[in-house]
Symmetry: C2
Subunit: 339 residues, 2 copies
DNA sequence: CTGAAAGCGCTTACAG
DNA sequence: CTGAAAGCGCTTACAG
């Protein structure tokens, strides 16, 4: 059923019906109520394409994901939060899959030229990120999940990765550890750089030298945590403590430690960054896992809100947030064992 | 830039330009080439909303996810495959988040009434699924990932869950196991019922009684695998073998087994269903893990293709596939230890 | 092979 | 408070 037919049934003009449905003030209360009730009854909804043509707004927010690796648990949780917030305004998420950086850029061009979305969300930014300049030149509104050094006036939300790892490293130093390994993301990604900085800052503050052999880089998966940890354990002088970038890498690291015949929280201390996955809680591991905690789902929800604010006219420079990260001590961390 | 302006620059009519871009045959080859080249140069793309209004096709496929639990690794992999296939036709995935069965149904009504998508993908069907009847009555084309007993003419793709678990159970029986536990999904979901049937059939074939205490139900997560396995290990007569529903539950089960001081592949045999996650390979576990294998990413890609075929007019009854599942023996399965 | 024009289903200035 | 009509940017029957 389209507006014409729906208005006819009510013996009203399309104008009045449209205004009532859009919440415009100049409709008599009684008329509005009658229209709203009928819309529910007949299941009338404006055609999105027509609405998009007439208003320029399509009610969808875009996110571009690399088919290979970016459909993971972090993205899922983030999208759960994002979608949950957008759902309240009946805005959907448009996911475009790409297989390379190049096709990611051309996808933004496509989305902008065809006016397929009202805004996009950029994630996992690099130190200097070409996507920023592109989106600005396309005039496609966006919010960045993370930060970047790239020029441009845009909103973003990031967690304090620097502070998180600085805290966890300091805590391990307090416990007497000096050989502390870091399971980090790939270099070039801002969050990984920030974590590296936090790690190095904490070590430098105590005059502990940095050993590059203790810095691993990879995806935040069980398998990568396992493999990197196995590498650490093979070192002549193995670490006595590890900081894992995610719950997934922590699980992998714990497997490697156990298989090597050692105990987490006794032979090796472990702190993980916890993005708060509903299906894997640090309290239910054995031993319970000390973590730096920040809900990526909550970040997704807040970014959804920021996009809505952006589209309502809030200037991008007012949409910038750094979320603090909390260190939660549990049983996976202990004083270093005397040699 | 819109069509009018683009056509003006080329000194052609909108009609000719539109036809050239849509690949209609009645355009002179030279003209078409000139238009295609210019479109690339100027970055012209038809406005999706206008296209949607004019043609009734919007170039997006919908999928509705429950915000709570359905944004997980299985969904991610599936969507990676789906998106990868649809991307080739520049079709995007529209994700709508909901928080209940009820709001899922009303979301399908919204998507249909507002013509927001060309088709939807239904997943994790129940034995008798109200969504089927709704989508049929809405006239919204759809493909089901999984099967259902619900009436209605629709296409679907499913893996042979019955055969998979029947095979793994039989193999464990061949190895002399009689106490075999099953980490299954929630009852009511078709795939879980099929797996249960495969399990029971294999046991019955050998005259082995079914012990309900050995049948666990839950999400396919590390944590759920861990907790259910801990429960099994506390039984007076513990299982000597376990079939895990996913790699995630297998990892959790392995943790529980190790923490209990036992060895996988010696004290307890383990077979997992492997949906083939790129970041967790059964060959890299210790011990390597025997699995029943079927790529959920490949299923996503094929379902993307099936949706495209459906939209091109292939009758739904020609779009039905059951994929066989392969049992791969590795080192986590061994003959039962003499008591 | 090419073009002028109607129509897709809305919103929104403008008029009353 | 309500309505007639232009316009958003395409596609496509119809005419040539």
């Amino acid at each position: 059923m389209n507006l014409k037919e729906f208005a006819n049934r009510l013996a009203l003009s399309q104008t009045t019906v449209s205004r009532a449905l859009s919440g415009y003030p100049e409709v008599k209360q009684a008329t509005r109520e009658r229209i709203l009730k009928a819309a529910l009854e007949y299941g009338y909804r404006p055609n999105t394409s027509a609405l998009g043509l007439a208003t320029g707004r399509v009610g969808a927010i875009g996110i571009v994901l690399k088919g290979g690796g970016e459909f993971g648990p972090h993205t899922s949780e983030f999208m759960g939060g994002l979608g949950g917030r957008l759902q309240q305004e009946e805005i959907d998420i448009l996911v475009s899959t790409v297989d390379s950086q190049e096709s990611e850029l051309s996808t933004y061009r496509r989305l902008a030229a065809s006016k397929r979305v009202d805004a996009v969300i950029l994630h996992s930014p690099f130190l200097d990120d070409p996507r920023i300049a592109l989106l600005n030149s396309l005039g496609l509104p966006f919010i960045v999940h993370g930060r970047t050094n790239s020029d441009g006036n845009f909103g973003w939300l990031d967690i304090d990765n620097f502070g998180a790892v600085r805290q966890s490293t300091s805590h391990l130093l307090d416990l007497g550890h000096r050989r502390i390994a870091l399971l980090n993301g790939y270099r070039g990604r801002i969050f990984a750089e920030h974590r590296q900085d936090g790690y190095q800052t904490a070590l430098s503050e105590r005059g502990v030298a940095i050993d590059p052999a203790l810095c691993g880089h990879g995806e935040f998966t069980d398998e990568m945590g396992f493999r990197l940890m196995q590498g650490f354990l093979k070192l002549d002088e193995r670490p006595t403590a590890v900081i894992a970038g995610s719950m997934m890498s922590a699980l992998g690291a714990m497997r490697a430690i156990r298989i090597a015949g050692m105990k987490v929280g006794e032979d090796i201390s472990l702190i993980a960054h916890d993005d708060v996955f509903p299906y894997i809680s640090p309290d239910h591991l054995v031993p319970t896992l000390s973590t730096t905690r920040s809900s990526i789902r909550a970040a997704g929800a807040r970014i959804g809100e920021m996009v809505l604010e952006l589209l309502q006219g809030t200037p991008a420079e007012n949409l910038r947030e750094v979320w603090p990260v909390e260190l939660v001590i549990r049983n996976s961390t202990a004083a270093v064992k005397p040699a």
